[in-house]
Amino acid sequence: MRRAPAWSVALWGGVAVIAGLVLTPFWFVVTGSIKAPQEIIARVPTVIPESFTLQHYDKLLAASDYAGYLVNSLIVATASTALTLALAIPAGYAFFRLQFRGRGALYRTILLAYAFPSIVVLVPLFAMFARVGLVDTRAALVLVNAAFALPFAIWMLRAFFAQIPPEIEEAARLDGGPPLTVLRRILLPLIAPGIGAVAIFAFVTAWTEYVFASVLILSDARRPLPVGFAGIIGQYQVDWGLLLAGASLAILPVVLLFAAIGRWFVAGLTEGAVK
């Protein structure tokens, strides 16, 4: 389809504004992390760095527990993502495929999880975890993160399941595929974009979670990045270079995840299946 030139200009303009809004802070964070301290706090900020130093990274990795926090966060976020997917896929499929009394009501009810501010459930949750000995474990964070990611993940995956033409599943049943094989071999590849989206959502949610981690984790060695990092950057005086270097590094795993999963986001996976 040919677009009118004015329309094209408007579209590109819109994209440029949005990209600018999103990317400008990133630019200042990442370039700031390699600037000399004087340049970072200069009265007129420089868009293109005039100095170059790795001293902030050096200090961050050599003289703080940042690397340990990073590993903790990676473990927690990866495990949370895996648990979320492991539960949301069968649950989404069940909500889509099984007919049972109260299905619609239950399906709407699970979203109630988002009605409560996390601070409200924090205290009872702490008491419960204390009773079963989960306080100050990474497993506690994994459970909490998965619990909060699940309702949305189930909704999202159910919608993706619903887009698969029913005949494909019927054909697989006629071909003799047991339900779990049909799910794994036929249906999951077709909802790959949905799984990718849920994975990114669950990972980012867990990666950035602060409130639960700050309360449920007591020992410094088990702290994930957001909590641990908050301690590094200084209580009375902010070390801007350190902060920017830490923030830059913290973005990295998420960017890598997007790069890895992004290729799943291709439209028309079911193209050619029907009609």
Binding site: A171, L174, D175, G176, A273, V274
Partner: protein, 360 residues
């Protein structure tokens, strides 16, 4: 042995009865076509045979075995869907192989079967392609191939050609007939296209509102329909059905006056000479059954519309299809709109129906 037998099978969705109890036997190796207008229950019937729909009552038997409660995959059948339902992320070969893999066939044997079927369907060049890189006809052949490799006793087809263009449809029709000859399996084929039904079937089952209206070989259904519905459903253009008055009976024939043709006292043979016909009835006469002028009783038809299908030309006496009479114009005769055609009407070619539907 893959005879399919439905015994008092019925289906309701909630309060709505879609298929009242119905009996049907499809002998081993037969090409049986279910035909009927949309919503007549033909697809539901097929899906109950497949096991994709659970019957509300009755039994499905395949090869003498009661399979009513069995999983689709345990019934020894394969189904080709209207929408093909290929696995889009798999290649043609993987699509065809999946069922064999599920059946536990070793890889080498699977490959051999797939290649054999691919040759039969002229798909050998496309085995490594994904469905999206195929044309509609090729996709449909893959769907058929997926059914063939499993060597089922029964093939089920749910309007498999309705998404194809006209030429391809003819081609696939011939191909299916050839496959039926080659594999010799029982085939049950659902369509609303009466040309497909007429050309492919050993037996046609005409369904209407979930009931079997009539079943039998295509020729018999066409020439000797039991009801108005069957008479009107098979044949294109459809049979002329026009009201007539029965004035008397004579030697197993009813004497009828046909106002639309301007004929009185036409002696139409009755199916059951013993049963007295009602006073008013419907006369049926196929468009190609008009005799040349001079044979039988004379009638004059005025052309409101002349339709040329290429193979034949038809005269319509009105633009409203509900009241129009249609006649095939004899070859070599040219008729324009507004002109008249002299025809003959042979009583032997006419059929008589009660206005409620049954044949008289």
């Amino acid at each position: 042995m893959s005879e399919v037998e439905l015994a008092a099978i019925a289906k309701s969705f909630g309060e709505t009865e879609v298929i009242p109890p119905l009996d049907l036997r499809v002998p081993d190796g037969e090409f049986c076509v279910f035909v009927g207008p949309s919503g007549c229950g033909k697809s539901t019937l097929l899906r109950m045979i497949a096991g994709l729909e659970e019957p509300s009552a009755g039994q499905v038997r395949i090869g003498g075995r009661d399979v009513t409660r069995e999983d689709p995959s345990d019934r020894g059948l394969a189904m080709v869907f209207q929408s093909y339902a290929l696995y889009p992320h798999m290649t043609v070969a993987q699509n065809m192989e999946f069922g064999l893999e599920m059946a536990g066939m070793p890889r080498e044997a699977r490959r051999a079967e797939v290649e054999k079927a691919a040759r039969l369907l002229k798909l050998d060049r496309f085995l490594d392609r994904k469905p999206r890189a195929l044309s509609g006809g090729q996709r449909q052949r893959v769907a058929i191939g997926r059914a063939i490799v499993r060597q089922p006793g029964v093939f089920l087809f749910d309007e498999p050609l309705s998404n194809l263009d006209a030429e391809l449809r003819v081609e696939m029709r011939l191909e299916l007939a050839r496959i039926h000859r080659q594999v010799g399996a029982t085939m049950i084929y659902v369509t609303h296209d009466q040309v497909e039904a007429m050309t492919m079937a050993d037996r046609i089952v005409v369904l209407r509102e979930g009931r079997i209206e009539q079943q039998g070989p295509p020729e018999r259904l066409y020439a000797d329909p039991d009801t108005l519905f069957v008479a009107g459903f098979l044949g294109a253009p459809r049979m002329n059905l026009t009201p007539c008055a029965v004035t008397g009976c004579e030697g197993g024939r009813a004497l009828v006056d046909v106002p639309a043709l301007g004929i009185t006292g036409l002696a139409v043979p009755l199916r059951d000479p013993a049963a007295p016909p009602p006073r008013s009835a419907i006369l049926g006469l196929r468009p190609e059954a008009f005799a040349p002028a001079g044979q039988g009783r004379a009638a004059t038809l005025k052309a409101e519309v002349v339709e040329n299908t290429g193979a034949a030309r038809y005269l319509y006496t009105a633009t409203d299809r509900a009241i129009a009479l249609v006649a095939e114009i004899p070859r070599g005769q040219s008729i324009g709109t507004g002109e008249t055609l002299e025809v003959g009407v042979a009583a032997e070619d006419c059929l008589l129906f009660a206005s409620e539907g049954p044949r008289l």
